[in-house]
C-alpha cells in the first residue's frame, strides 16, 4: 500500500515536472487564467459599486420620507384615496380626494400647510389644494358639490392647503367611506425612493455583469480542451515510458488528472490575482481622471464559484475525453 502510494506520488511529480518544463504550460495557464481574470474584474466592480451605493445611501439615511404600506403601523395615516367630480359655480372638474380619519396625523406625516381656515364647528372638514383653488377661484366658505360614482353631497370649503405641487391639486376631507382605495401613508426614516431605485439599478447591473462574466468564459472552454490536447501530445512519449516500467493505466490516468487539475488551480489563483490587480490599476486611472471611489472591494467567492466550477469541470471532462480518445486509438 505504502509502496504504491509512493509510486503514485512519484508519477504525479514526474508528470508535473514535465508539464512545468513544457512550453504548452504557458498556453494552458493563459486559457485558464484569462477568463477568470475577466470574471474577477466584473465581480469586484459589482462589489465596489455596492459598497459605493451603501455609502451614498448612508448619506441619505437621515433624510426621512413618506412611503405607502399596505399594513398599518402606529406612525401611519390611513387614507381613502378616491376620485370625484366637483361642481362649483356651474363649473365641473375632476379631483383626487384624500378622506382621512385622523387629520392631525395626516397633516404631520404629509407636511401639509394650512394656508387659510375658517372657524371650526362644521361636522365635515374639507380643504382644497392651493393650485386647484386658484385655477377655479375657490375660497374658504365656498359651497361645492362633490359627486362620487353618481352619488353627490354638498360640503363647505373649510380650509385651503399647500404642500408640494401634488398636494396643491388634491382635496382633503373626512367621513367619506365605501369608495376608493385605502392606503397607509407612513413616515420612514430614510429616503425610500432613492433606496428602491438604487437597489433596482444595482440588481440590473449585477445581472448584466454576471451574464457577461459567465458568457466570457464560454469561448475559453474549447481553448482549454485544445490546450490539454497539446499537453497530452507532450506526455505521450513519457507515458509510454511509464507503461514500459510497469505502471498500470489507472494509476497513470489518476496522476494525469491530478497534475492537470493542480495546474488548473494555479491558473485560477493567478487569474484572480491578475483580475484584482487590473481592477486596482483601473481605479487608479479613474482617480487620475478625477473620479474617486471611496471603497475598493475584493471579489467574493460566491460570485466566482460558478465560473471556477465550470472551468474545473471542463478541465476534468477534457482530460477524460482525450484519454478515452487516445486510449481507443492505442
Amino acid at each position: 500500500m505504502g509502496n504504491s502510494l509512493r509510486v503514485l506520488v512519484h508519477t504525479f511529480m514526474v508528470l508535473l515536472a514535465i508539464f512545468l518544463r513544457s512550453k504548452a504550460f504557458l498556453l494552458f495557464i493563459i486559457s485558464i487564467s484569462l477568463p477568470i481574470a475577466i470574471v474577477t474584474v466584473f465581480s469586484s466592480s459589482i462589489m465596489t459599486l455596492y459598497r459605493q451605493t451603501e455609502l451614498i445611501l448612508d448619506l441619505y439615511s437621515r433624510q426621512t420620507s413618506v412611503y405607502v404600506d399596505m399594513t398599518y403601523y402606529s406612525n401611519c395615516a390611513v387614507v381613502r384615496v378616491l376620485y370625484a367630480d366637483i361642481v362649483y359655480k356651474n363649473k365641473s372638474f375632476s379631483i383626487q380626494i384624500h378622506s382621512v380619519d385622523n387629520l392631525d396625523t395626516y397633516k404631520e406625516i404629509m407636511s401639509i400647510k394650512i394656508l387659510k381656515q375658517i372657524r371650526n364647528g362644521y361636522k365635515h372638514f374639507l380643504s382644497i389644494g392651493r393650485s386647484i383653488a386658484e385655477l377655479y377661484d375657490i375660497d374658504v366658505d365656498s359651497d361645492i358639490t362633490i359627486c362620487i360614482e353618481g352619488y353627490c353631497i354638498n360640503r363647505t370649503v373649510i380650509a385651503l392647503h399647500d404642500g408640494n405641487e401634488y398636494l396643491g391639486y388634491i382635496a382633503i376631507t373626512n367621513n367619506i367611506d365605501g369608495y376608493g382605495h385605502t392606503i397607509n401613508f407612513c413616515r420612514g426614516y430614510y429616503n425610500y425612493a432613492i433606496q428602491g431605485i438604487v437597489e433596482d439599478l444595482g440588481k440590473s447591473i449585477e445581472s448584466i455583469a454576471r451574464f457577461l462574466s459567465i458568457f466570457t468564459v464560454a469561448p475559453y472552454l474549447i481553448v482549454m480542451y485544445l490546450a490539454i490536447d497539446r499537453v497530452w501530445n507532450l506526455y505521450r512519449d513519457e507515458i509510454s515510458v511509464l507503461y514500459n516500467i510497469g505502471l498500470d493505466r489507472g494509476s497513470i490516468e489518476l496522476c494525469l488528472y491530478l497534475a492537470v487539475l493542480s495546474i488548473a488551480c494555479v491558473g485560477i489563483l493567478y487569474g484572480v490575482s491578475v483580475g484584482v490587480v487590473a481592477l486596482h490599476i483601473g481605479l487608479w486611472i479613474l482617480k487620475l481622471l478625477g473620479i474617486y471611489m471611496f471603497t475598493v472591494s475584493l471579489p467574493i467567492f460566491s460570485s466566482l464559484a460558478i465560473p471556477i466550477a465550470i472551468n474545473l469541470l471542463v478541465v476534468t471532462l477534457s482530460v477524460a475525453i482525450i484519454i478515452r480518445r487516445t486510449g481507443d486509438r492505442s
Binding site: V66, A193, G196, S204, L212, P219, V223, D229, N233, L234
Partner: protein, 387 residues
C-alpha cells in the same frame, strides 16, 4: 493545394469552425451589450424620428437626463428671431419607484409631441390629457409586466419628493421602443414628480428646417460654426456659472454624461476594444490547432517535399474562409441570442447593438490572432518547438 486540403481531418475542421463561431458570437454579444448599455441614454432622450434633420437638443450639464434641468425662458431668449425652426418640443424625464416594486422612467410630454415622435395609439382608456393632475398613462410592455389596467391606482415614489404620489391609470399606450417601457404623463405632473417649478424641463428638442439656420443658432450660442457644421447633430449642455450660461457641445447624449463624470468617450471605446483583445487571445490556440490536429498528415506532406510555407498558406486560406463564415453566422446567432436573453435596465430591454466599428475590430482581432497562431507552428517537429 487541393491535395493539402484533402489531408485535413474533417473532425478537426468542425472543432475549429465551432470554436471560431462561439468566440465570434461571444465577442459580438459582449461588445454589443456594452455598446447598448452605453447608448441607453441616447435611445431614451433622442427621438428616432428626427435622426435625419438638423436638430439641437438643449439640456443642462447633468449626470443623467433624469437630473438635467433647463429653463424654457432661457431657451426662448436663445431662439428669439431665429427663423426656420420647424419644430420645438419639451420633455421631462424622471426616474421613479413604482408600486414599491421597481424603478421606472416617467416621461412628461404633450400628446401632440408624442404623436409626432412616436405615432402612438391608445390600446385602452383615453388619450393623454394635460389637465388631469393625477392621471398617468402606461406603456404597453410595462403594463403587461406589472399587470396594470386602466382605472388601477399606482403609487409613484420620487427621489425628489418626500411623499409618494397616488395616480390613476388613464390609458395604456402603444408607442414603440422606448416609450412602451415608460410611464407617460402631462408636463405639469412630470414637473411635480421631478420636484421643479413650471418653466423647467429636462430637455428641449429644437428641429430646424434648414442646416443654415441650425448653424446661425449654434453661432448665437457662441459655438464654433465650422466645428458644428461637421456634426450630424448637437447636444448643447447649458452650464450655469452664477448668472452666466456657458454652452458645451456634444455629439452624443452619453458623451455628455460620461464627460460630466470625467471619462471621455475614447476611454469607453478603449475598454471595449481591450476586452475584445483579451478575449481574442484564445484564438491563437485555435489557429495553431488546425496544424497540430493534422500533424501526422502534414508531416508526411513535408517529408514528401511540400514546403512549410505552402502548407501554411493553404491552411490560412481555410482559416480565412472559416472566419468569414463564422462572423456572418455569429451575426445571426447574436441577434437570436439577444431575443432570448432578457437583460434590462430601468425596465428597458437591452438589445445588442453591433456597429460597423465593432464588427470590423472583431474581424481584425479574430483574423490576426488565428493567423499568428498558425504562423508560429513548425510543421516539422512542431511538438518540441512551438508554444
Amino acid at each position: 493545394m487541393i491535395e493539402i486540403l484533402k489531408l485535413i481531418n474533417i473532425k478537426s475542421c468542425i472543432l475549429i469552425f465551432t470554436s471560431m463561431l462561439i468566440t465570434s458570437t461571444v465577442l459580438l454579444t459582449v461588445l454589443g451589450y456594452l455598446q447598448s448599455l452605453y447608448n441607453i441614454y441616447e435611445v431614451i432622450a433622442y427621438p428616432e424620428v428626427f435622426r435625419e434633420k438638423p436638430v439641437v437638443v438643449v439640456s443642462s450639464y447633468a449626470l443623467a437626463p433624469f437630473t438635467s434641468l433647463v429653463s424654457t425662458d432661457v431657451l426662448g431668449n436663445m431662439l428669439r428671431d431665429v427663423q426656420d425652426v420647424e419644430y420645438i418640443f419639451y420633455q421631462i424625464l424622471v426616474i421613479a419607484y413604482i408600486n414599491n416594486s421597481r424603478a421606472v422612467i416617467v416621461r412628461g410630454i404633450e400628446a401632440k409631441d408624442l404623436k409626432i415622435i412616436a405615432d402612438y395609439r391608445i390600446i385602452d382608456g383615453r388619450d393623454i390629457d394635460g389637465h388631469c393632475f393625477y392621471c398617468i398613462w402606461v406603456g404597453k410592455n410595462i403594463a403587461e409586466e406589472l399587470n396594470i389596467h386602466v382605472g388601477d391606482v399606482i403609487v409613484l415614489s420620487s427621489p425628489f419628493l418626500s411623499i409618494p404620489l397616488i395616480l390613476r391609470v388613464s390609458g395604456i399606450i402603444d408607442a414603440g421602443y422606448p416609450y412602451n417601457y415608460e410611464l407617460l404623463s402631462s408636463i405639469s405632473l412630470a414637473q411635480s414628480i421631478r420636484g421643479v417649478a413650471k418653466g423647467y424641463v429636462s430637455m428641449a428638442v429644437v428641429v430646424f428646417s434648414s442646416r443654415e439656420d441650425y448653424l446661425v443658432f449654434v453661432e448665437r450660442l457662441g459655438l464654433d460654426r465650422d466645428r458644428m457644421s461637421l456634426m450630424e447633430r448637437a447636444i448643447v449642455a447649458l452650464k450655469y456659472i452664477g448668472r452666466e450660461i456657458r454652452p458645451h457641445v456634444y455629439e452624443h447624449m452619453t458623451e455628455m454624461l460620461v464627460s460630466r463624470l470625467g471619462l471621455p468617450r475614447d476611454i469607453y471605446i478603449l475598454i471595449s476594444f481591450a476586452t475584445a483583445f483579451i478575449m481574442s487571445i484564445g484564438l491563437y490556440m485555435i489557429g495553431q490547432s488546425i496544424a497540430t490536429m493534422n500533424s501526422h498528415n502534414l508531416e508526411i506532406l513535408y517529408e514528401q517535399g511540400v514546403s512549410s510555407i505552402k502548407i501554411k498558406i493553404s491552411l490560412a486560406i481555410v482559416l480565412v474562409i472559416f472566419i468569414a463564415t463564422s462572423i456572418k453566422l455569429s451575426l445571426i446567432t447574436t441577434k437570436m441570442l439577444s431575443n432570448i436573453i432578457s437583460l434590462t435596465i430601468v425596465g428597458y430591454p437591452l438589445k445588442v447593438a453591433i456597429s460597423k466599428d465593432i464588427l470590423l475590430a472583431t474581424s481584425i482581432y479574430i483574423l490576426f490572432f488565428t493567423l499568428i497562431g498558425l504562423a508560429t507552428v513548425k510543421i516539422h517537429g512542431y511538438r518540441e518547438e512551438t508554444i
